[in-house]
Symmetry: C2
Subunit: 417 residues, 2 copies
Amino acid sequence: MPSLSINPPARLLMGPGPINADPRVLRAMAAQLVGQYDPAMTGYMTETQQLYRTVFGTSNEHTLLVDGTARAGIEAALVSLIEPGDRVLVPIFGRFGHLLREIAERAGAEVHVREVEWGQVFTPAAIEQAIRETRPKLLAIVHGDTSTTMMQPLDELGEICARHDVLFYTDVTASLGGNTVETDAWGLDAVTAGLQKCLAGPSGSAPSTFSPRAAAVINARRSIEAGLREPGDPVSQNPIRSNYFDLSMLFDYWGPKRLNHHTEATTMLYGARECARLLVDEGLPQAVDRHRRHGAAMLAGVEALGLDVFGDLRHKMNNVVAVVIPDGVNGDSVRGALLNDFGIEIGTSFGPLRGLVWRIGTMGYNARQDTVLTTLAALEAVLRRAGASVVAGSGVGAAYDFYADTDSADDARQETP
Amino acid sequence: MPSLSINPPARLLMGPGPINADPRVLRAMAAQLVGQYDPAMTGYMTETQQLYRTVFGTSNEHTLLVDGTARAGIEAALVSLIEPGDRVLVPIFGRFGHLLREIAERAGAEVHVREVEWGQVFTPAAIEQAIRETRPKLLAIVHGDTSTTMMQPLDELGEICARHDVLFYTDVTASLGGNTVETDAWGLDAVTAGLQKCLAGPSGSAPSTFSPRAAAVINARRSIEAGLREPGDPVSQNPIRSNYFDLSMLFDYWGPKRLNHHTEATTMLYGARECARLLVDEGLPQAVDRHRRHGAAMLAGVEALGLDVFGDLRHKMNNVVAVVIPDGVNGDSVRGALLNDFGIEIGTSFGPLRGLVWRIGTMGYNARQDTVLTTLAALEAVLRRAGASVVAGSGVGAAYDFYADTDSADDARQETP
């Protein structure tokens, strides 16, 4: 078997991500390589930075890719911003809040957490109260947490952080491209993402952006690595604990100095650039509208099937819904039948929600009418076969009605995906 | 410009890496994604592990990909093996030895270095003497260092390390696939690599392997991360300082537990799997022979052009040669003319060799007769135009003669690349 060429089965990935990559992204990634300092390569790097400034809603100079998965971007931000002993506040409303805590602890921070029940988010007042109590250097909070489908409102937190002189970091892996993210308008200092959700690419590159204030904190610990260092180059007494994730070196690599660090992952860069290019061509507000529309259609469909939806819907991300598994139905059997009989993948869940909900995504390339209708039709068929009392045709019908009743602003894109 | 689709210029990459990817690798990477726990995906992960066991010459269970560039593999190995305060011995014979020192220092090690002049390597006796003097927990040494083109013989070091109870780590990024690497026979405990040299892929994935002894050291610090942890799961009092590079968690993700960590970079995995599949299909000894042959042809060609070669040729890697820039010739101008007029990239150099040598590679997909002859013809033309006294036709002629005089064991591959 190992000697066979790659030939993955056809899957429609309607879970919480990864989802199917846009074929245009995969085609861009099939382009041949150029050298690390070829003018074409440095030109692509510069273009990629400019494209992600638009995607993140920022004018930050320090906008770049971290070569790794979304989690690599989180760790690069936290290990570069945190010095051992620094206080960090992590409000947790799902699994990925726990991850921020974990990474901050390993970076040596004194971490203070606040938690709300899964399915809820924090009020700005609660965050400010926690800041008063803990006096952190850094607030680290997830924007959209796929584990609960909730999205934390961030628009009022930047002003609070600025007032208390707190750095403000967020992970937008799950939200970016399908929900509004305004780095500069919201006063964010550090934002990291991944490609495998609404950006319609494969996991493996972490677009990230850092405000001048964050960059100043990071560059204060700048150290040119042994092997490249020349007389007079800075050697920090308190260097960032990681070489690979040392953002001060990544800034030099992505900046006009082009100082060698790692060998940029060219194929992932081609993909990340194409993900951003497609979003910018579509328009960020239009992409958010598309995710809102197809997410609402999916929600209408599952509710019409008589299924309950988990969490505070006022704060649900556009691109994913958590559906309560009906009594008497085996959640894993339903997922297995969808995968094996229809080629459709939906998501399971973690922690307190394990075994209680399915997570169904409508994101990136798969935020489309055909994927929504097909998934609802398949889900209904599988549920009925599993013995659930579901009215035939109800889910697809409700989604069809939803589409008919709403305008078709995004039809052009749907017709020529 | 940013709105244009990717369209890199045609380049023949004959530097020290990255080189052109094998088109079959790029085609594999264009395959559509499947879900993270799809049986097809976990099957590809298992196949990839098995393929890299063959490539590394090991039966190590813990053979996997680190999702990042070659440098990510190095950091994952060092940060997972080293506890703060551990003594680490780093013999340095080029730039990447300095990198190992740098990464080990950031991981909190007490690092002891030994250095030889660039262009040389260490004797086993010198390494053993340094081990006696420094009593390290870990010996960390580069196998092939592209900065000098030298390859450190490792075959006698495993026995020395075992005798002194020292863990033995090496970075084979530059050597693997084009030079013999025998993980088990040489007694290596940890080995990391990258795709962008003799493996004929793009940078962005780091194949790595760990002996049972290394795995035991790493797993002694195992900690299940917050958010996934269940009652009874281990929580280390001395966890690995990085979450992303915590190999104990990567072992769980790649092992039968399949415990969620990052979202595997599927496209890079497809590429890494194809790189290994092509090497295994060719045969590792055959691939090494191919690199030896084309490296020797390139060496014969540059010497026939009257150019001096840097370093102790008894220890030169098969896949790269350092050519002394002749007096009166501007090295960067020659590289520029090769790139702009012929579309051929050769390498510059670092540190003590900066401005003194060019580095010319013959590796991976570009270890072929046509690339060698074309590069020599172009180099001669550019050198003559730059005023160097070069006998017309001498370099290509010598390489042609070399090919005619040696057997053609690898013609089959050349004809159907």
